[in-house]
C-alpha cells in the first residue's frame, strides 16, 4: 500500500500510539522472539494511515511458548484474525554460538521444530491467518564465503530453517511468509543490523526498517482480505513510451533502442509479467483514441499489445472520471486500482477527486520506474492458480461482451446469444483452491459472508449432510472460470443455505437463477421439502439484500440486527428458464 514518504517510523509510532476504536479493526497478535512494541506501534500507525485499522495483542516479553501452549492464555481469548511471528536471527545466533560445535546440528533442529510446532498450533485458531517473518541471513560468516557449505554454521542453519518455514507455509493454506531478507538487503544490512539496539532493547532491526517490515505484513493482510490491488491504470505518453504520440508520431516516440527507449521496454515487460499473474492492465490517457492505439498495433518494439489491455480509455475528459468509468466497466472497486502517471498535475487531480484510488509518485527517470514501484510492494499475492493466470483475459472478454450488449435492444436476446454453459458440481480437491479464494474474497454478491477455511470446505465435500457446489460458466467469448459457490446443509427435511456467493464479473447473467434451479433439483432428489436462506447485511453486500425475494422465496423473519431469513417450498418451485445449459461432466 502506497504511503506518503514523510510517514517515517517515528511518525508512524505516533499515529499508532493508541489502539483504534473501530469495531471492524483487524485483530493482530504479535508474537516475537524479541521486543514487539516498536513493530506493533508501527503496524497500528500503518493501519491508521492506510485505512486498514488494526488492534494488537502482544504477550509479555519472551513468553511466546507459554502463550501459545496455554489454551487459556489471552492469545486465544483475543480471537486474532492475524498472528505475526517476529523472528530474530540475533536470538538464534545467541543460542547456536553458545552451544558446543558437536551439538549444533541438534540445537538447530530443535529450534526449527519448536518454531514450526508453534506456527502449526497457532494456525489452528479458527479463521486465523499466520504471517511469519523469515530469518534474515546473518552478517557473521565464520568461514567467510565458504560458510554456507559448513554444517551447523549460522548462515547454513538460517537457510535451513527458512527452508522449513517455506514448506510449512506451502502445506498450510493460512500461513504466509515475509521475505525479511529481501527487505533487509534492499535497505542494506549495514543499516538493518544495529547490535546496540539488540543488546539494549532486543530490537531485531533498526526501527527505521520497520515501516517496510510491518508494511509487508500489512500488504499480506490486505491481500488475504481481498483488499489488494487488482488493476494498474496507465497513462501512455512518457509512461509506456518516451515522447507524445500525438505530436511525435509513431516514428518519433522513444521505445526500444532509441534514447531512453529501453527503460520503457523494461517497464512494459514488467507490466506484462504482472498481467500474466492476473493483474488487470487498463489505459487511462488524454489522447485521441485512434492515435493512442497506433503504437499497440503498429510499433515493432511495443511489448504490450491491444489484447493485453482489459479496458482502454483514451479521451479528453478528466482522469478521475475516466478512472471511475474504468473501475465500473471492469466491475472492481476504485480502491483496488493503482494509477500511474508521469504528470504531477494528473496525479494530484486524481488524489483529490478519486481519493479511493492508489496514486504513487512516479520517478522522473523511466529507468527508475520499476525499482521504485517494486519498493512499494503493491501486488502482494496470497495464492496463485490457473484462474489468476487467466484473469486479465476474463476481464477483457467481459468488456467485449458489454460492447456487444450495447448492440442488442433486448438483454434477454443478448443472453440467449451468449450461448452459456455451466458446471454445477460438488466440491472436489482440484477446485478447492479457487473455491477457497472466492469464499475468502467475495464481498458484494455474498449472502452471509462466512469465511469458511480450507479445512472446513474440504470437510463439507465429504459430508453427506452437506450440499457443497461450485459453478463454472462459459460462453461464446470464452471461459469465465469458477464463479459461484453455494453450500447447503441438511436439517431434517430442510436445507439451510449456509453460503451463496458469486463473482461480480458474471452479474446480470441470470446465473443465480440457474443455480437455484439446480439446487432445488438436488434437494428434491435428496428428499428435501424446503430450502431456507438468510441474508446478513455487511457494508458491501447491499447488492443482494433482495436476492431471495427476487428468486421467489418467502420472508420468514426480520431480525433486529438487519438479518432476514427466507424459505422456499421445493414443490412450489418453477424452473426459471434462465438461458444457461448445464454441462454434463465428462
Amino acid at each position: 500500500m502506497y504511503l506518503p514518504e514523510e510517514l517515517d517510523y517515528i511518525s508512524l509510532m505516533g499515529l499508532g500510539r493508541d489502539h483504534p476504536q473501530d469495531a471492524d479493526a483487524a485483530r493482530v497478535a504479535v508474537l516475537g522472539f524479541c521486543t514487539t512494541q516498536y513493530y506493533a506501534a508501527v503496524l497500528r500507525g500503518l493501519g491508521r494511515a492506510g485505512g486498514f485499522p488494526v488492534v494488537t495483542y502482544e504477550p509479555e516479553y519472551n513468553t511466546v511458548h507459554q502463550t501459545v501452549l496455554d489454551q487459556q492464555s489471552p492469545l486465544y481469548s483475543f480471537q486474532p484474525d492475524f498472528v505475526v511471528f517476529l523472528t530474530a536471527v540475533q536470538a538464534l545466533r545467541d543460542v547456536l554460538l553458545s552451544s558446543e560445535a558437536s551439538d549444533r546440528a541438534q540445537v538447530a533442529e530443535r529450534q526449527a521444530d519448536e518454531l514450526v510446532s508453534l506456527i502449526r498450533q497457532v494456525a489452528r485458531i479458527p479463521g486465523v491467518t499466520v504471517v511469519v517473518n523469515e530469518f534474515v541471513a546473518p552478517y557473521e560468516r565464520a568461514w567467510g564465503n565458504f560458510s554456507a557449505r559448513v554444517d551447523g554454521s549460522l548462515p547454513r542453519v538460517v537457510s535451513e530453517i527458512n527452508g522449513r518455514l517455506r514448506s510449512v507455509a506451502a502445506g498450510a493454506g493460512n500461513v504466509y511468509l515475509v521475505d525479511t531478507d529481501y527487505i533487509a538487503s534492499w535497505i542494506g544490512k549495514r543499516f538493518w543490523f544495529d547490535e546496540r539496539l539488540w543488546f539494549y532493547s532486543r530490537s531485531f532491526c533498526h526501527p527505521e526498517a520497520l515501516p517496510q517490515v510491518a508494511g509487508q505484513a500489512m500488504d499480506i493482510f490486505r491481500a488475504v482480505k481481498g483488499r489488494g490491488i487488482k488493476c494498474v491504470a496507465l497513462d501512455l505518453d512518457n509512461v509506456l513510451w518516451g515522447g507524445t504520440i500525438g505530436d511525435d508520431g509513431l516514428e518519433g516516440i522513444r521505445l526500444g533502442e532509441l534514447g531512453d527507449g529501453e527503460a520503457y521496454v523494461q517497464f512494459q515487460l514488467w507490466l506484462k509479467e504482472l498481467r500474466s499473474r492476473g493483474i488487470i492492465l487498463g489505459i487511462c490517457s488524454k489522447n485521441d483514441e485512434q492515435k493512442a492505439l497506433e503504437p499497440f498495433r503498429k510499433h515493432g518494439d511495443m511489448v504490450l499489445r491491444e489484447s493485453d489491455i482489459s479496458c482502454f480509455i483514451a479521451n479528453w475528459d478528466n482522469k478521475a472520471d475516466n478512472l471511475r468509468t474504468l473501475a465500473r466497466r471492469l466491475n472492481i472497486g476504485l480502491d483496488s486500482v493503482v494509477f500511474l502517471d508521469d504528470s504531477p498535475f494528473e496525479r494530484d487531480l486524481v488524489r483529490e477527486l478519486a481519493p479511493e484510488a492508489c496514486v504513487p509518485e512516479l520517478p522522473e527517470d523511466p529507468a527508475d520506474y520499476v525499482p521504485y514501484l517494486e519498493s512499494l510492494n503493491l501486488f502482494e499475492a496470497v495464492q496463485f492458480s490457473d484462474e489468476d493466470r487467466k484473469r486479465a483475459d476474463f476481464y477483457r472478454a467481459n468488456i467485449l461482451r458489454e460492447d456487444e450488449q450495447q448492440k442488442f435492444t433486448s438483454v434477454e436476446k443478448y443472453l440467449v446469444g451468449l450461448n452459456m454453459h455451466a458446471d454445477f458440481e460438488r466440491f472436489d480437491d482440484h477446485h478447492l483452491p479457487r473455491i477457497t479464494q472466492l469464499v475468502q474474497r467475495t464481498n458484494q454478491f455474498n449472502l452471509t459472508t462466512i469465511r469458511h477455511s480450507v479445512a472446513e470446505l474440504r470437510a463439507y465435500a465429504e459430508d453427506p449432510d452437506y450440499f457443497p457446489y461450485y459453478v463454472t460458466l462459459n460462453d461464446r467469448f470464452g471461459e469465465n472460470g469458477l464463479v459461484s459457490v453455494v453450500i447447503g446443509k441438511r436439517d431434517g427435511e430442510q436445507m439451510e443455505i449456509v453460503t451463496w456467493l458469486m463473482s461480480c464479473r458474471v452479474i446480470s447473467r441470470r446465473l443465480e437463477e440457474f443455480v437455484l434451479d439446480e439446487l432445488v433439483e438436488t434437494a428434491r432428489e435428496a428428499g428435501i421439502a424446503e430450502l431456507r436462506g438468510s441474508y446478513t447485511p455487511t457494508e458491501k453486500n447491499g447488492l443482494v439484500s433482495k436476492h431471495y425475494e427476487r428468486l421467489g422465496f418467502l420472508l420468514s423473519e426480520e431480525l433486529p440486527d438487519g438479518r432476514t431469513t427466507w424459505k422456499l417450498t421445493v414443490a412450489d418451485h418453477v424452473p426459471s428458464g434462465a438461458p444457461i445449459r448445464r454441462r454434463v461432466a465428462a
Binding site: 505516533g14 500510539r17 512494541q37 535497505i187 546496540r196 532493547s201 533498526h206 527505521e208
Partner: protein, 93 residues
C-alpha cells in the same frame, strides 16, 4: 552548536517522540514525563541521533538519566562530529 540550541533541539525530539509539547528542565527525569518509558527512551536516542547527526555508544544509551545529561552528551558529540572522522550514523537511503 550552543547548549541552548541543543536544549531546544531536544525539546523538538521529545515532542516528535511523545507527540505533544513537554516542559523540560535540566533536572527532568523519565519519572517526571508521562510516556518516557523504556520504549520511548530508545526512540529519544534514535530521534536525537537523527536530528543532531551523531551516534550514541552502547554504554551511553542507558546512561542519559536526565535531560541535562542528555544535552551534555550531545554537546560533546556535536563538537566531535564536526571533526573529520566524527562518528555520525548515516541514515538509510
Amino acid at each position: 552548536m550552543t547548549r541552548e540550541e541543543i536544549f531546544q533541539g531536544m525539546k523538538g525530539v521529545f515532542e516528535e517522540v511523545l507527540g505533544r509539547p513537554v516542559e523540560l528542565h535540566d533536572e527532568t527525569t523519565a519519572a517526571d514525563v508521562d510516556g518516557w518509558d523504556s520504549v520511548a527512551h530508545v526512540m529519544l536516542i534514535l530521534a536525537s541521533e537523527r536530528r543532531f547527526n551523531v551516534r550514541f555508544e552502547s554504554s551511553e544509551i542507558a546512561n542519559a538519566a536526565n535531560v541535562g545529561e542528555f544535552v551534555t552528551l550531545l554537546e560533546s558529540k556535536t563538537s566531535q562530529a564536526r571533526r573529520p572522522g566524527g562518528a555520525a550514523r548515516q541514515s538509510a537511503p
